[in-house]
Amino acid sequence: MGFLLETLLGGLMAGMLYSLIALGFVLIFKASGVFNFAQGAMVLFAALAMARFAQWLPLWLGIESRMLANTLAFVLALGVMVAVAWAVERLVLRHLVNQEPITLLMATLGIAYFLDGAGQTVFGSDIYKIDLGLPKDPLLLWPRVFEGGVLVTPEDLIAAAVAAVLVALLALFFQKTATGRSLRAVADDPQAAQSIGIGLSGIWVIVWSIAGGVALVTGVIWGSKLGVQFSLSLVALKALPVVILGGLTSVPGAIVGGLIVGVGEKLSEIYLGPHIGGGIEIWFAYVLALAVLLVRPQGLFGEKIIDRV
């Protein structure tokens, strides 16, 4: 029982990170209709920026405190991501308005290659550490309730809390601020939004910046756990089934989908894996998403797709 709970918790932690990446996908898709394959590359780029700034800043400015250096690095990395968002809008999206979704998708793949290359050229291609100074000793929970108790690391708990706060902040931003409202207006109907005076290009910069910020948080959480390296950019492939499972247009869908996939992967690897050979977590999420889509073609929470002639 304790083992099962541990597996579940581990799955939820992994799923939370998938949710964060999926969130980036969904935000951009809703606002601009672009299926952003570059989200994984953005995670890598942001994490690299953060890791290297945290390393460089103490050398440049002679900052002693790790806390201060990390904060400054985070702010700088955020700035870098805003610059990336601006460049993407100015150099790519603006010129591809009204193109086929597939063309836009390929363009974001181009952006992904570019960011992968640029990140490693500018920031280096070794494995870097992001040291946030979080406690790493595992905690033993409820040793009396379950035999052997349940092991969790406080790092994971803090990461979960950060993710939850981020999602709450985003929800507040979308519901309560004027900018958030115009973002939702654009997501609902770009043409109607334009006709009442909402500028699309500004919205795109904002939404790509937000996605960049989400990517940064994802990268920092993931990087502080496993180190920042190229494989981080492949995590996006794990988040794709999450997006379609939850529905391309649904933020709650991204979060729920991520948790389902995270838990499902871990459970299937343990209970199904031994019977049909290991390594099934590579495709499990995709097959799960495929099965769900056969029942609900728009994903669990997506808007119903209505065909008109």
């Binding site: 299926f35 150099l91 790519v92 010129h95 591809l96 193109q99 086929e100 979704p101 597939i102 063309t103 998708l105 390929m106 363009a107 793949l109 181009g110 952006i111 992904a112 290659y113 570019f114 960011l115 992968d116 290359g117 640029a118 490693q120 050229t121 291609s125 492939l237 794709l240 089934p241 997006v243 379609i244 391309l248 050979g277 290991g278 390594g279 099934i280 590579i282 495709w283 995709y286 097959v287 998403a289 495929l290 889509l293 056969l294 073609p297 728009q298 994903g299 797709i305 065909d307 008109r308 002639v309």
Partner: protein
Amino acid sequence: MFYRENGQFKTSYRADQQIFPVRQDRIAVLVLLALAFIAVPLLASEYLLRAVGIPFLILSLAALGLNLLVGYCGQVSLGSGGFMAVGAYTAYNVFVRLPGVPLVVALLLGGLGATAVGLLFGLPSLRIKGLYLAVATLAAQFFIDWAFLRIPWFTHGSSSGSVNVSGLTVLGLPIETPVQKYLFCLALVAVFALAARNLVRGHIGRAWMAMRDMDVAAAVIGIRPVHAKLSAFAVSSFFVGVAGALWGFVHLGSWEPAAFNIDRSFQLLFMVIIGGLGSVAGSFFGAAFIVVLPIVLDQAPAWLGLPMSTALSSHLTLMVFGALIVFFLIVEPHGLARLWSTAREKLRLWPFPH
């Protein structure tokens, strides 16, 4: 002046319905084929044939297959690398388990294996559409990758799915030197391109295009979505499967599942998009672009005399590749084939503007 169709009257249905209705086009195609079959093997160096010629031909075939599905039928597939793998491993199994089967038969059976798997993974397309389908086809890619890595029966018991073939012959002629390989691929590709060209102008192709333009409307006017979509998946997978078998047998000789990973799928999709959706010639343009570009980019620092570490140059290559892709999509979102057809329209009117 030279490319003008006035004076060419069509006096029979045959003449009206032929593949290349303009005489200059027919001549151009014949000249091109003659160049490809005779001049290239005589003039090109072995390195050029091995590094550019053969990969270009095989990947054109794969891109052509994918273009039938994506460009003509409008079903985006990100699993084409997986279907190539199915083709390669099916052909391998036929080749190893049934000694004495001719190479061409093994390749075609590889294509049929891919067709079967393609049909299976095409079934969801009846219910799932658009980007959802694109991501769903990734299921095929990852599942197939995994299956060839982990299930020993498919790979004849070899560890981690790495297999190799040797002693290829066709009609008693060996396929060993680059020139022989090139000519063999070229012959197959030419036949398949002709078949594709014929398919898309006939009944099936028109059903596909109707499905692409609007599937509900197509169903209303009596095109059966099940037939149209599944036939597109079947034919496309067959092409891609044969290309995969060629890639394994002729180009690589020994391979493992990683040769057909997701990067291959993306590469094929790039070829189709950059070449031009819904264009047979575009598949070839796209393949040429994507095959040649990395080679040029790899050599560029050396040509320019810039000393550079391998890691840095590979990262820069990645950057330039990404930037060029975006650039081409912006400049000509309809692909190189559109540039070609624009040029042809200009040529028809030249030297008078109207």
